[in-house]
Structure formats: C-alpha cells, structure tokens
Symmetry: C2
C-alpha cells in the first residue's frame, strides 16, 4: 500500500494563489480482531501485510496479551478493509485480559496502570553488560536516517530500527512513534530474535511510554536522534537502561548507562 499520496492543493505565497501538487502522508485505520471479536483500532501508516502483522503482534505483546509464539494461531490480513484477524490460543486468560486491558488502555500518554507498569518492571532491571562503540552507534543512526526515504519525503513519519554490533537488522516507519516500535517488537517476535543484547534506534522523542515498551522487552540500549523526557531518564536510571539522545553527526548525549558505550577509537 502506498504510504503517501499526491493531492491538489492551493498555495498562497506572498499574496499569490497557485494550484499545485503536494505529497501528503496517509493515515490508515487497522482494526484488530481477536478470535473473531473486535478488539481495537490503531491509526497507522499503510504497510505491507507483513508490516501490519508485525504491528498487531507488537501491540499485543506490548499490551501483555501475548508472550510466546504458541499463543498465536492463524493470522489473516484484509488490507482493503483495514482488518487483521488473529487467532489466540491462550484463551483462558484472554477474556479477562481483554476486559482488563480495555479498562486501562494506554496510548499516547493515557493509562491508569502507569505506576503499576513501573512497579512490575521494577524487577526487570537490565543486567546485560554488552558494550557498543559510540562510533558504531552514530553510524547506525546515520544509516537509518539515509534509509528513511519516507521521512524525508513528507516529514511526517517516525522511524525505529533494531541493530546489533554489526548492522541494522530491520527498521520500520509509521506516523505513530509507538507503532514503529511495536512493529520492531512484532518482527523480532515473529523471527524469534532475542532483544536483550540489541540496540533500539528511533527518530522520535523518547517519552516514558516508549521506554516502558522497550524495557518490557529488556532492550539494554535505546538511542534517539531527538530528546528524552525527564521521566524517561528516571525510568532508564531505575531499570539501568542505557539512554542516548541527540545521536546526530559526531555527537550524542548519554542520559544514563554510559558504561555500555565504548570509545575504542580513542
């Protein structure tokens, strides 16, 4: 599916009105059905069936609905309708989880379970002692920026990538920061890739919900080309996550966990 569309607009420039073409970013409603029951609609960027599947899986993982591959049965995407149907096999909890989740839905800063989430993460302190070289981190950030053609085209989407000590493993774009991260989590889940020694790179601001999503999957290093919030920094400190912001050009700010960043070249 196309992620942008050319449309006709009127532009006023220094008093002159002109008809012209403009490229705008698409927004696509994807409704998730679990075992035949409508669960939730995500507004996201149009994507391949694969991308939409990763998004739905990542969202369900982030929301604690599924945790392992055996939980997921058949998946069917109806692209034109904007539907994705998932058969979940962890039925015992599902109804309760569905109900429970619905009463506390988070999303762009909403969630009555905010502190409960932090509490439950308290035990998940990151013990991973993997070390990434700062030049490698900057290279990944640079590469990601080059790859993100859509970002450059319209300035309207966020991107998110998973890397290891060699390269970028995969990356996703979406109009929603959370969606891009959920796609990463969903793809890693689908491919059976462990996240606990990987690096997450994102274009967008690191709000607390981004950190919490990443922390739930025990990602030890989170890098943004933009800024973290103060709450994110506190969470990173609590959970001992390496948090890096403004990774651009030859520079990065380390907000916590500098011990996982080496400067071999020096």
């Amino acid at each position: 599916m196309e992620r942008t569309k050319k449309i006709r607009i009127q532009q006023i420039k220094e008093g002159q009105m002109e008809e012209m073409e403009d490229q705008v970013v698409m927004e696509y409603p994807l409704t998730i059905y679990l075992n035949g029951e409508e669960f939730i609609t995500l507004l996201c960027s149009p994507d391949s069936s694969e991308g939409l599947t990763y998004l739905a899986l990542g969202f369900l993982i982030s929301e604690g609905m599924i945790a392992e591959k055996s939980h997921v049965g058949k998946v069917a995407v109806e692209e034109d309708a904007g539907h994705i149907h998932l058969q979940l096999n962890n039925k015992t909890d599902l109804k309760q989880k569905l109900y429970g989740k619905r009463t506390v839905t988070t999303g762009c800063g909403k969630g009555t379970v905010f502190y409960n989430v932090l509490d439950s993460l308290g035990s998940k302190k990151i013990n991973e002692d993997i070390i990434y070289d700062y030049q490698h981190i900057l290279n990944l950030s640079r590469k990601l920026n080059q790859m993100s053609a859509l970002f450059k085209e319209t300035g309207g989407v966020h991107f998110c990538a998973l890397g290891n000590r060699e390269k970028i493993l995969f990356f996703h774009e979406d109009i929603g920061r959370h969606n891009a991260l959920d796609k990463i989590i969903g793809e890693a889940f689908s491919k059976g890739i462990e996240l606990k020694d990987k690096i997450l790179i994102t274009s967008g601001r690191l709000s607390s919900e981004m950190i919490i999503k990443a922390a739930k999957k025990a990602i030890p290093i989170i890098v943004s080309r933009s800024a973290p919030t103060e709450l994110s920094i506190n969470i990173a400190k609590d959970l001992d996550i390496t948090l890096i912001g403004f990774a651009r050009g030859n520079r990065m700010n380390i907000y916590h966990g500098g011990k996982r960043v080496s400067r071999k070249a020096m």
Copy 2:
C-alpha cells in the same frame, strides 16, 4: 510547576567525553478522578492548576463525558500527587459513559469507535462563513511561534492556540499534541467562549484525531505549521472545515476550504 529541568549528562563529541548540563522536558502523570472514582491517567507537561483543570475538562469534553457547565461541580487539583478530582453532575449517564468510553478509549490513534465518530460528525458539517485574511493567519502563526519559548528551549513540546480576527486569545503547550488541544477546548469551555467562529493554530502534525477533536467543537478553520495527513484532509472535506498546513513565513498550503481565506492586500 517547572516544565523543564536541568540535568547532568555525558556528551560524546568527536570522541571526547564531557560532563555537561542539559535541559530536558518534564513528563507529568495526571490522574483524573470522577466523583471519587479513578478514571484515567494522562501523561502531560507539568502546568498550573488552571492549566491542568483545562486539560481535564477538555479531555472530558473531547471524550463526550461533559457538554455544558452545569455538568461540572467542584474541581480540586492536587499538584504534587498528580491528581485532579472532578465532581460531575450528569450522573445518570456517567457510569454508562465511563464504561462505554473505557471500552473504546482513543488516544494516539487507538479507538474502536473511529468510524462511528465520523458517522456522528457527518451531521455536523461546518456552515460558518466567516472569512480570515491570509496575512492575519500568517501573523497569528508567527506570533504563536515567538510566544512558544518552551518549544524553542527544548524542541520537545507542541503548542496550540485559539485566535479570532483580531488576535490570539490564548495558547497552551504540552508534550502531547492532543493535550495542548484539549487545554484550548477546556479553557474555552471554562470561559464560555464559542469556538464556531474561531481559528485554531497548532505546531504539530494534523492527524485525524486532532481534526475530529476540533470538528466536535465546530471550529471552522484549522491551521498548522506542519503537515496534515491524507485522512485529515478527507475529513476536512467531508465536514467542510478549512484546513491549512505549512503556515510559515509568507506561505501556506490550503488543503480544503479556501473560501474562508481572503487576500485583501491584493
């Protein structure tokens, strides 16, 4: 409450590590209690008691929980705890609305009622024939940009303003685009200001949820310094809302509703 905080960070720049000070934007969890019952937690920027009240009111209006002043009784903000208590007088519907809303919570692109919302708005086509001069619109956008000191300081917040044909009436900042708009809606509600002949100006991208929030209050002209999505443009066309993007310097893009934009100076 302070909206930013100075913290110590490590910066690596061209291989050199340096300890320095950095200013980061705060994120503040505000839990809304309705008639003593916990309803939802919003993650927002710290604000004055007044600002937090506007946010809570605006959120409840946007979610269809309240519609007129008589619905709201006592309001009490506990800034340090991050709580706001509202007494609502439209009790008959409240429980049902509470329950109903919780099953369909929207927020950053989530909401099973997405199409229902559009359907119910279908009857709310904007009939307002007020005209704003394009130079005035650009002036408001420029002024708002100057006013937004916080935006410049940290690059981490969005702002939103309400204007009329003379000036900017009030403006709000928040780390969440939706929150900034909810504050505008809440302040207008508190002050008994009609929105149906006003202009809304925002720094952030115009996603469908922003347009829907504004459309619910029948705001006829929506202006952004950034881009709209294609879905937003479609909604603007359906509801005949004037939608303007990239209002910067001497230029603006009109995506729909050019009839409400004049060029007197010509």
